[in-house]
């Protein structure tokens, strides 16, 4: 079976509230959704969220890369059969490796295409992604995220998370009032909720040492990306001084990054994200390597991701033996409208059931994609110039 058509949607779905961290404020999603169709008419949907400050990818760059580099190389090629045990690996190999000047990795493009192909093949066979990634648990429990607003706003968000029953919360830090914000959150949540912080690389090492020492008394489970992506020796040195376990996010994009971080014993946690890390196959490779090395993991998400990435993230999470923290599946808690007819967002206590429907387990509504697409690119056979 071969792919015969693809459509790219650059989405612009408004948020119900803006989302802010130390380096960026967003008020709308900017995902790229890939829709593929095979010669039998089966369709699949994948999604990537380009982040210039993470992988170096942009929305326009992803559209161009998929249209001009990746799609022409896979259109009309025979797709791997589902029966193969190494199906995800074969799909990863099907997508050509291309270096782009100025781009750390084309992982958002690869993730979008990989998920679309996987979804398409599974839908054609009428089976769930669970066939490939057997679930080790029936439910996944998600964390809440408190954005980088005032301490009063943070306390208000924390109270909301408390009444929803969330047991894990992440607080964005890297601003002047971090201590006051985290103190307000701890006071609102009480002692039983796990709190971790995420600086998005805002600190220098001396700043991080001071900040983490000041935040540690509030009971911080982990500090995500305290330093900007750079030499792992800096993270290693910080880890030796930090009273809080460290987590790599922007510093963990590729398998090579993982090896370097493991070799330097630079962090306690990896934040593995589908779009950032290049799709299901590569994320599972990272998770396996982390488990071997004794590095614990968080399965993270992209702010503004739609049901497509959330569904794939849930399958990935449910299939891994040990995951300490999970993010994502905010759905209409953040998006004015999601792209699927099925609700993927979490409910009370942040819990959501593992999805069981064909493919990724969500029914994507093409009319919603068209409604929120600020740009649509049809890719016929042979690719198309933009």
């Amino acid at each position: 079976m071969r792919l015969v058509a693809a459509t790219l949607y650059a989405l612009d779905i408004p948020f119900v509230e803006s989302f802010k961290h130390s380096t960026k404020e967003r008020s709308a999603s900017d995902s790229v959704v890939v829709q593929v169709r095979d010669e039998a008419g089966s369709e699949g949907f994948g999604e990537g969220c380009p982040r210039p400050y993470v992988t170096g990818e942009t929305v326009e760059g992803v559209l161009q890369h998929i249209a001009e580099d990746l799609w022409p190389a896979i259109a009309e090629r025979e797709l791997p059969p589902l029966a193969e045990g190494a199906f995800l690996s074969l799909v990863d190999e099907l997508i050509p490796r291309r270096e782009i000047p100025g781009v750390l990795s084309d992982n958002a493009s690869r993730a979008a295409l990989e998920l679309a192909i996987v979804d398409c093949v599974l839908r054609r066979e009428g089976v769930s992604l669970r066939r490939l990634l057997p679930a080790l648990r029936s439910r996944v429990a998600y964390s809440g995220v408190i954005t980088a607003g005032s301490p009063e706003k943070a306390a208000q968000q924390a109270r909301q998370m408390k009444v929803v029953g969330l047991t894990q919360v992440k607080v964005k830090v890297g601003l002047d009032d971090d201590v006051a914000r985290v103190a307000a959150v701890r006071q609102a949540l009480g002692p039983d909720v796990s709190i971790r912080v995420d600086a998005n690389g805002a600190w220098t090492r001396p700043q991080a040492v001071a900040a983490l020492a000041a935040l540690a008394p509030f009971g911080i489970s982990a500090a995500e990306q305290p330093l900007a992506r750079g030499p792992v020796s800096e993270l290693r040195a910080l880890r030796q001084e930090s009273p809080v376990p460290l987590m790599a996010d922007e510093s963990l994009v590729t398998l090579e990054d993982a090896e370097e971080l493991i070799s330097a014993q630079a962090v306690d946690y990896f934040n593995i994200r589908l779009s950032k890390c290049g799709g299901l196959h590569r994320c599972r490779q990272l998770a396996a390597r982390a488990a071997e090395a004794g590095v614990r993991i968080q399965i993270g998400s992209q702010v503004g991701e739609t049901a497509i990435l959330s569904a794939a993230g849930r399958h990935l999470t449910a299939s891994l033996p040990e995951v300490d923290f999970v993010e994502g599946s905010y759905g209409t808690l953040l998006l004015a409208e999601d792209v699927s007819s099925d609700a993927v967002r979490f409910g009370h206590r942040g819990e959501a059931a593992v999805l069981t429907g064909p493919g990724l387990g969500v029914r994507v509504l093409a009319e919603r994609l068209r409604k929120y697409a600020r740009r649509t690119v049809e890719l016929p056979l042979g690719g198309a110039p933009l």
């Binding site: 119900v16 509230e17 995220v145 004015a336």
Partner: protein
């Protein structure tokens, strides 16, 4: 008293957001297009045509103190409080028909039903009916509060700029400023609910804040969004 004043302050802020929004200003000033007016009417229909369902739900959860007024509201919505009464959904249909939107009614009815279905199938953010009931009651009362302050303005705008007759606008006049006492009773009911079900005032206010996120009225009336009922609020 703090809960009552806090929740009234919340309602007032949300009403101000609506009336100060560019969409509302355009509606009142006549600078909105015919398409904008029609979409507004469609959204009002979609937002409110299932109100009797939610009042029936609230009836089952109402604390004894609030039962008489919620029963009254429910019967009024269903048009069976008095012999000559008309149900509120039928007044909304009348609005759509008089606006020349009869051909849109089947699709609007379907969308409203889909919205209701979505509320039922979406995962619940709250652990018990106690919290869910507060969210639903808060949403219903907040709309009564808002309409008691702006329904006449909306009716005047639709009459002047969209050419609708007083008969077409009956739904708005039913909810207009004369209904302020009704809205006050709604806030009494919220207070009674919070007392009866032993809410901490801070938790109750938090649920109300989640239910009435920023621009909640504008998103419903101008933004093509379906029912929220606090179930789409939360933890971003």
């Amino acid at each position: 008293m703090p809960f009552r004043s806090d929740v009234e302050g919340l309602f007032a802020r949300r009403v101000a957001e609506l009336t100060e929004s560019s969409d509302f200003v355009a509606l009142e000033s006549g600078s909105a297009t015919r398409v904008d007016y029609d979409r507004f009417i469609e959204n009002v229909f979609r937002c409110h045509t299932k109100s009797p369902h939610f009042l029936a739900f609230l009836f089952t959860l109402a604390p004894p103190e609030a039962v008489p007024s919620i029963t009254h509201n429910l019967l009024e919505e269903m048009g069976i409080e008095e012999e000559t009464g008309e149900s509120h959904p039928s007044l909304l249909r009348q609005l759509a028909v008089e606006a020349g939107l009869s051909d849109r009614l089947p699709a609007l009815e379907t969308r409203a039903q889909d919205d209701l279905r979505q509320v039922i199938v979406d995962p619940l953010l709250y652990g018990t009916l106690r919290e869910l009931g507060l969210a639903v009651l808060c949403e219903v009362v907040s709309f009564e509060y808002m309409l008691s302050r702006v329904a006449s303005r909306i009716a005047r705008a639709l009459e002047k700029h969209r050419g609708l007759s007083p008969k077409a606008l009956t739904w708005f006049t039913h909810h207009s400023e004369v209904d302020i006492r009704h809205a006050e009773q709604g806030i009494d009911n919220l207070e009674a609910y919070v007392r009866y079900y032993d809410f901490a005032a801070e938790d109750a206010l938090t649920i109300c804040e989640m239910t009435l996120r920023e621009h909640v009225f504008g998103r419903r009336y101008f933004g093509e969004l379906g029912l929220g009922l606090g179930l789409t609020a939360g933890a971003s």
